[in-house]
């Protein structure tokens, strides 16, 4: 059963290679996208930290995006 699954009547190399390449390419793109998102979230949260207390409060009240990023960053640290 396992041998049949691996060899697939002589097509195993081509079938497994297709699935493996697809899997690794997708995993690589996922990893890179995730890393970039986290990098930007961190940089944005740091920029918000640098603002004065009153400025930050104003920004967080006005911008939902800033509010969410700031909240999730504070939760993660």
């Amino acid at each position: 059963m396992i041998e049949k699954l691996i060899y697939m009547n002589g097509y195993g190399l081509f079938v497994w290679l297709s699935f493996a390449i697809s899997f690794f390419a997708c995993a690589l793109v996922y990893y890179k996208t995730y890393k970039t998102l986290k990098k930007y979230e961190k940089a944005f949260a740091k920029d918000l930290h640098k603002l004065s207390e009153s400025q930050r409060k104003k920004v967080l009240e006005k911008s939902k995006v800033a509010n969410q990023v700031f909240a999730s960053y504070n939760k993660s640290i």
Partner: protein, 236 residues
């Protein structure tokens, strides 16, 4: 309507959607792979190499759909001047490039045991390489041109010109005598010559790849929104 697609409105849904996709993705993936590699029968002509089709065909569909989507959004951006559409196009482009690459590579891996060659300068294969080049040009124009407005204009122009290639890819197997077989599924009239035992795994694998696309798209789109907000942090 325009207000509905504003980044601020969408942003709160992105996280929820990402969590939902993450929660179901691995279940759908395992079911899809089980059907594609174990349950579906070998083809009477292609044998087990038909299993490559469960990655190749959805990849090719996604690559064509992504470019069509980018081109339509580019036309709308020119007409309606909605900047948010550019963000959507930018987030879709890397997915299109990835799946065009996968369609070409897996097609080549299928071609070797079936046609006896890794590659042929056949109309369908060549037009797919042209599509890959359009994706590369589109992404490079966004990366290399420093002025953002100019980069958006150039990339939109590339997408609109590249749209000509989409019907060429789609109908190349009908217009020319090619090595590539004619289409087995006609989306326009909903007909299929594929047996249900193979059609079901194909649809399942398409669903897996679409979920993956949605996940990457949402992450990219979220990154783009944050990048813009970060630039104008003091003006928020």
């Amino acid at each position: 309507m325009i207000n509905l697609i504003s980044p601020s409105k969408i942003f709160k849904w992105i996280e929820r959607l990402m969590n939902f996709i993450n929660s179901i993705f691995f279940v759908v993936l395992i079911i899809g792979l089980t059907f594609a590699l174990l349950i579906s029968p070998p083809d009477y002509l292609q044998g087990d190499s038909v299993r490559i089709m469960y990655v190749h065909v959805p990849s090719a569909w996604i690559s064509l759909a992504s470019f069509t989507c980018i081109a339509i959004l580019s036309i709308l951006t020119f007409l309606l001047k909605i900047k948010n559409l550019n963000l959507i196009s930018k987030s879709v482009a890397p997915l299109g490039l990835l799946f065009t690459f996968l369609a070409i590579v897996t097609g080549s891996l299928w071609g070797k045991p079936t046609w006896g060659t890794w590659w042929a300068w056949d109309a369908r294969l060549t037009s797919m390489v042209v599509l890959l080049m359009f994706y590369v040009m589109y992404i490079l124009s966004l990366k290399l041109i420093k002025d953002e407005d100019k980069a958006n204009q150039v990339s939109a122009l590339i997408a609109i010109v590249g749209l000509i290639n989409i019907p060429i890819i789609k109908f190349s197997v009908d217009w020319w005598s090619t090595l590539h077989q004619p289409q087995s599924i006609n989306i326009l009239n909903g007909s299929s010559s594929i047996h249900s035992s193979m059609l079901f795994p194909l649809i399942l694998m398409l669903l897996v790849l679409l979920l993956y696309c949605a996940l990457i798209f949402l992450m990219k789109y979220k990154t783009e929104i944050i990048r813009i907000k970060k630039k104008n942090v003091k003006r928020l």
